[in-house]
Structure formats: C-alpha cells, structure tokens
Symmetry: C2
Subunit: 286 residues, 2 copies
C-alpha cells in the first residue's frame, strides 16, 4: 500500500454525536481549554513555530471542529477577503503535523463551503449554520444542506513500463503531473478513471486500481489516486484541458523526483497526492 498522502491522519476527535445538541456545544465554549482557530488571508494561520494558531474564544464561533484531548476546538466562519491565489499558502503547510494538517483541511473546506452556501438552493431563503457548523438549515423550508466533499480521480496510466503525465495550462513551467477529473453522477471511481483518460488523452485502459486518497481543501475535494494499465500508447490530447501529455520512462520519473536538473519535467509538490502516486510507482506498486 502507498504511504498516506499529505493532509491524511486522524486529526481531532470530531465528536460528531455532539453536533445535534446545540446546548452541549454552547457549553463547551466556556470550557477552560476551549480555543478557536485564527485566520489570515483566507486560510487558518500558522504561528512562528509552524503550528496552527489557536486563540481564546471570542464571540460564538459557528464551527465545532472537535476535541484535542479534552480541549474543545472551534472556528469562526471566515468572511474576509480570500487572496486570488489560495495555493500560495501551501508551502507553509509542510510544517504541520498529521494531527494539524487534517484539521487545517477540515476547517478550510468547511469555511469555503459556508462562504458559497449562504442561501437555500431549494427556496432561496438565507440559511443558518447548524450541527456545530457541519450543515446549514433553512428557517423557511427546513431543508438541511451538508458540506460538499467532491470526489476527484487522479491517475497514473502505464504502458510498457512508461507513465502518462500531463501539463495543465496553470502549472508552473516544466511541471507534469497525473491526469485528473471530477467523478460525475452515475459513475464509479473506476468508470471515472477510464472516462477521463479517454477524454483527455484518447487512451483506453483495461485495469484500474485504487491506490490512496487525500482530502484537498482548495476548495473542498476528496482526491482519489489510481493506477491504470493502458491498452495502447497512441495519444489524442484534449487541448482544451491540457497543454501537453507525454509518456515518461522510469528513469525520467526517478530523475524528476530526485530533483535532477537534467530531468525532463518538474514533479508535483510533495503535498499533492500525485507526488505520492509517483513515489509509490518508482518504489514498485504493492
């Protein structure tokens, strides 16, 4: 099995059984160990030690994130400005450990979702945070709305010992990474992998294997990593989606992962599941 990608881990004890009890959550706000997350530039802030920055409770934060040991952890909904490039924060995240990284991901995904879901999609009325911030409820039509976790497949296609990687237009210069796309209604993970590889690169695959998964809070995805065996290596690239797609040999992938300046491409960042997939492929899939 591949190692856990970044953002994975148990995180806080979410104590979801408390979410249906607003009285219990309100009581936790006055707990001696209660803290709330500090936000900056549209994301949870890090302190000078590379840890999430927790502050004393101020007001009534809408999101109950769970417990760190016996100490309750909260967050306000972030309603400030969000910088144009949310990804600018990511390098800092490498400092977070596997309890704090999933907490960062949960808080940011929830905040992203609340910001775009202030109104009821059924009747248009203004909705209110509910269940400790893990849903919103409509006071007009009673519809309850839950946060999204949008499944995305991201996959390495292999043919004759070589890997298919592609370039999206917004990538930094030289970077190639795994192809990816949203799972659509009416599709399994395996069906979505096959469809995306056909659409974006024109290849048919005969065998799709799940590898690992990762929460991705930009804005709120569940990344699902897979490996597929291609039936042929002739490519028909969808230029609306990709700048380029190419097959790379094992030696080329090894050189890229090692940071060799002569390598034919730059690999994805270490916090991306695509990097986990590449590292695992080079080690030999198990």
């Amino acid at each position: 099995m591949p190692p856990d990608p970044y953002f994975c881990g148990p995180g806080l004890d979410r104590a979801d059984q408390l979410r249906a009890d607003p009285g219990a959550i309100a009581e936790l706000l006055s707990h001696a160990g209660a803290k709330q997350l500090q936000w900056t530039d549209g994301a949870p802030a890090l302190d000078e030690h590379g840890k999430l920055s927790w502050q004393p409770i101020d007001g009534e934060p809408a999101i109950f994130l769970g417990f760190d040991g016996a100490d309750p952890r909260f967050s306000h909904l972030y309603d400030g400005e969000v910088p144009a490039n949310a990804y600018a924060h990511i390098p800092l995240l490498a400092l977070l450990d596997d309890q704090e990284a999933p907490t960062f991901a949960a808080a940011l995904s929830l905040a992203n979702w609340h910001r775009r879901h202030g109104h009821c999609s059924v009747c248009s009325h203004r909705t209110e945070p509910n269940r400790g911030g893990w849903s919103r409820i409509c006071p007009n039509c009673s519809a309850e709305h839950y946060p999204r976790a949008d499944p995305v497949v991201i996959m390495l296609a292999e043919y004759d010992g070589r890997l298919l990687l592609g370039r999206q237009p917004q990538y930094p210069p030289g970077r190639y990474s795994a192809l990816a796309g949203f799972v659509e209604p009416g599709e399994s993970i395996e069906d979505a992998v096959a469809r995306e590889l056909k659409e974006e690169a024109g290849i048919d695959v005969s065998k799709v294997r799940y590898m690992c998964s990762q929460p991705w809070p930009f804005p709120s995805s569940l990344m699902i990593g897979a490996h597929a065996m291609a039936n042929d290596d002739a490519l028909t690239i969808d230029r609306n989606e990709l700048d380029d797609a190419r097959w790379f040999s094992r030696e080329e992938v090894v050189a890229a992962l090692a940071g060799d300046p002569e390598a034919p491409f730059q690999p994805p960042s270490k916090w991306a599941i695509a990097r986990t997939l590449l590292d695992h492929w080079v080690d030999g899939l198990k």
Copy 2:
C-alpha cells in the same frame, strides 16, 4: 479484485466536450436518432422488456446524457411528484444491463440534484441549467454550480475471521449490512472508515483496504466499499445510528448469502455494494 457492483459500467458516451457548446447540443435535438428518457413516479421508466423507455424528442430536454452509438440521448428535468419511498423502484432495476443501469443512475442523480438546486446558494437568484444539464448557472452573480456526488464509505470490519454487520432502524426485518457513513471535509477514505467504525461500533482498526465503488442515485452518492481489520471485538454501539451490530462467522455469512432460512440474518440486496463486499469476502479477498 471484487466484481463490479451494480450500476457500474461505461454507460453512454458522455461526450463532455460538447457540453460547453449549447449550439451543438441544440442541433443534436433534431438528429434523426435523438431520443429522450421517459419518467414515471420520480425515476426513469422501464418498458415491458425491462429496458429504459426512450421516446421521441418533445420540447427542449435540458439534460444531454450522451450518445448511444451515434444517437444522442436526452432527458427532461423531472419535476413531478416523487414517491415517499424511492427505493420501491430498485427491484425493477435488476433488469437493466450494464449500459442502461449507469445511464439510469446518472439521469436520476442529475434530476435529484436539479430539483433541490433551483436557486443560487451564493446570492439566492433563480439558476438555469447549463452545460447540457451538467451544471447550473446564476444569471445574477455568474456562480456556476455542479451536481453533487457525495462520497460514502461502506465497510466490512473483520476480527478473528468474523465480520461486523449492523442494522439501521429503517432496514427490513432481519437484515444486517455493512456499516456506512459520509466522508466529511478534511478526511481521506481511510480516515473516514476508521472514524465511522469508531463512532458507530466503538472499534479501532489498524488496516483499511479499498475494495470497489458504485454510483448510488438515491439521491446522489458515490459508495466506496472497504475492508478493515479490527484491533478488538468489544463493541460500543451508537444506538442513535444503529438498532444493533454483531459479529458473524464465515458460516453464518455463507448461509445468509445462500438464502438459508436458518441463517441468522438477511443479507443486503444484490444491487447494493454491501452485497458485493460480502460475496467477495466469502470468496476470499484478493
């Protein structure tokens, strides 16, 4: 690998590259082979041969489902009454083949989503179908909204050769099935499996393995089947979620799957991924 669960399969050619071109889709409506899905009681109708019922184009159906060979397939948004128990349709579905079953799932999931998303969650304005029915767009604030596919983990926990199965209150008498729950923001699949088993049954697990996945259009889930090894067999059952949960021996599971009247439980239906997981476990996980 497990066999494909029900509703899996390539289905129609979704031809997603056409979705951004409303002119091209409008032109397909007058194609000689164009057909639209018939609906009844809140779900796509089946004809007397156990096939999806396709009719001549009438009006301007909002959903472009894709191509069956060269023939375009459409669906209107269903805005009639939805029966209280949508599951009543499921037994009929066993008649659908692996092209039509995923088409049924896609059309029903999309229709379910459109019905609850007529308003913009950002600004409250009425939204309109977009991209051949694969999104909705807000004419006021320009926000685009995509259909949901909500990831759900559903898992067999094993300890000492026995399997943990549970009863939800709404199950038919005697039925036990795999425990399940929604993947939350900030969680990987593996983290969600571990959390749900801890919350619902009080067990810790040490190893989580992905098995298979399935689209589930009641209303719009991506079911993700997994297997986990439990560290202990002492249960603490969350009675808000489950009527009961118990460990069953291999012999008991075999008897239940064989329909033995002496079996200690009724297994899930064959169109449920939980059944695929049980069949695969009995065959020996590979």
